[in-house]
Symmetry: C2
Subunit: 362 residues, 2 copies
């Protein structure tokens, strides 16, 4: 395990992934072997999930006009890995949150989600026959949890966890708890939620609430933490707020894609001679790090790692490789996106509205 991951686990009070983790995920998935999923809250709960076997995997879509980037791809990839073992896979569209925090009207958010986000999640490999979607604004049962959570969490806690406590933040967080626990309105069941570290406050607060509630009988939700996809300049994580430092799915054109990749921060030495002599520092090389998130072929990745770190391969070659790889990835994605759009248009996805709908599926 990287030193950085170890530091984060200690700093955030997370747990290392226990041996039992492999029982609740597609253990052959590259995110497991590569340590991209690197921590959890908590390992004890993961052991219990292994015992009881049933759990749901859950994630949310924020329907805004921006495309998703490689950071979100990592979440979808993780969901795919859990889908192999989960009883339920749930992807909710946070259209109410988009309204409250980003001023996206509900009809606009709905359009984004149906035309882009949902097809994208399917095109990236979530099984449309096994993935349950819903819109927050159509789900009447979330508020039943949100109102209960409202009385169990104080304003000071909100402020301590989030720094601010605007009404829009408060209702969004309370509803998000509704989302995270919603499947349990049908049947108490462990939930697994793959997230970036920045989402840990939500996980923690929700875990606090579910222990406190006097109304519901909830099983814990478990956060499984995904390593951050780095920003192209190597500073922090990839984010849509800095579009020139992120790779979107799809990128507008291959020229842009190529330019972005070639400007990415490199772990190679400044001169060709030094690169050949010293090899690249993979721990700082953004193109290599991105390959870890997207390149499925393990042998190929290892070969690149070896050649690049020993100077057999140079930065330009790795960038060219990544460009070609992502170019073909994007091509493939666009085709699948069209197919997925047809699926959505034909109502051939599982779109539920409330607890009763979910009950009928289980």
């Amino acid at each position: 395990m990287e030193g950085r991951a170890r530091r984060l686990i200690e700093e955030f009070g997370l747990d290392y992934l226990p041996e039992e983790f492999k029982a609740i995920i597609d253990e052959k998935h590259m995110y497991v072997s590569r340590g991209i999923l690197f921590a959890c809250r908590t390992s004890e709960d993961i052991r219990k999930i292994k015992e009881v076997r049933d759990f749901y995997a859950l994630t949310g879509i924020m329907p805004s006009h921006e495309k998703i980037h490689l950071g979100t791809l990592a979440v979808v990839e993780s969901m795919k890995a859990f889908q192999k073992k989960s009883k339920l896979t749930i992807v909710l569209v946070a259209d109410l949150e988009a309204l409250a925090t980003r001023n996206v009207p509900l009809d606009v958010g709905r359009k984004y989600a149906l035309e882009y986000h949902i097809p994208t999640y399917i095109a990236l490999g979530l099984d449309p026959d096994k993935t349950i979607f819903y819109f927050q604004s159509e789900n009447v049962d979330l508020q039943k949890i949100a109102f209960d959570a409202a009385k169990e969490i104080t304003l000071s806690e909100f402020r301590a966890v989030y720094g601010d406590a605007n009404p829009s933040r408060i209702v969004s967080v309370l509803h998000q708890m509704g989302d995270m626990l919603f499947p349990q309105l049908v049947e108490p069941m462990y939930g697994v939620i793959p997230v970036g570290l920045d989402q840990d406050p939500h996980i923690r607060l929700c875990r606090d609430y579910l222990k406190r509630t006097r109304v519901y009988n909830f099983k814990p939700i478990v956060g499984v933490y995904i390593r951050d996809v780095p920003s192209l300049d190597g500073q922090g994580k990839m984010s849509k707020s800095e579009p020139h430092k992120a790779i979107f799915i799809p990128e507008e054109d291959y020229k842009t894609l190529r330019r972005k990749i070639f400007k990415a921060f490199s772990g190679g030495a400044p001169s060709l001679e030094e690169q050949r002599k010293r090899g690249a520092d993979l721990s700082k090389d953004v193109p290599y790090k991105i390959l870890e998130f997207v390149l499925r072929d393990e042998k190929q990745l290892r070969k690149i790692a070896e050649d690049y770190s020993t100077g057999k391969m140079i930065s330009g070659e790795v960038k060219e490789f990544l460009f070609e790889y992502l170019k073909s990835f994007m091509k493939d994605f666009k085709e699948k996106l069209e197919q997925a759009r047809e699926l959505v248009k034909a109502n051939d996805i599982i779109l539920i509205h409330n607890r009763n709908d979910l009950k009928n599926i289980i």
Copy 2:
């Protein structure tokens, strides 16, 4: 108009009821002639309602284990008066708010509402063929307004208006705005909400929000203010938090009813002799004030006022009269309550779930 009413209008920045008010209410109703409905926010909006004619009258039920008292009766009585002219009459069950602020589980609140509150409102005279009921927890459309309101109202405003800003308070207030404006999701229309002065903060904040929203096209809601039914000891208003100073509907038994009335604060002088000589001070006499809220016969009320204030009638007689009147009122109420319960059991009321249901009715 009483001096007290005038003071309140000035203090709260309310408007006097304009002449046009009589066009939007059953003008022969005793609450109009007696000035029990004494102020509004705003008179300009009432004039506009008279022009456009369409409006909805709306009130809410808090489903807790307590029975309603005469203060709530005054709200129902006002709703009846508006129902004569309103396009829609809406009574919502605030079961989510009861959950968040009073720890009433949703299934329990539902039971209270169906077995007691809704039948009571019908037994008291709301027309079951024209009154639309819904439960907050079943209405998915409220949150569409609540989330929009969340971004238009700051935490400081919540604190300024309510003194505190607990999460349960915040979600309850935001949802209440959803309630007050919900009918307008079908069709922009003025709303009239009869309330006690203590509800004015809700009215004000909601009026602020509906001017600010960038998403919806709402017409104003108008608060029409009901004089407070006095507490039996004459100190402040009748409240269920002081049950021995309130008269419930129905009272547990006539003995209790009689005892409460005879202990009520009197405007009569201490000795019989003085009562005969000076007459009673009606402005301080609780039994007389209660008669103003319940005794329909105008002539009878005037006669009592005259006789009592001149010493022809004494406190004991007025109390006895009130007791007999309320006793017969309660008897009658209990019969009607049973009938109304049958109606509710047979699903013979208008119980809607969302905007679409309402659309189909209009």
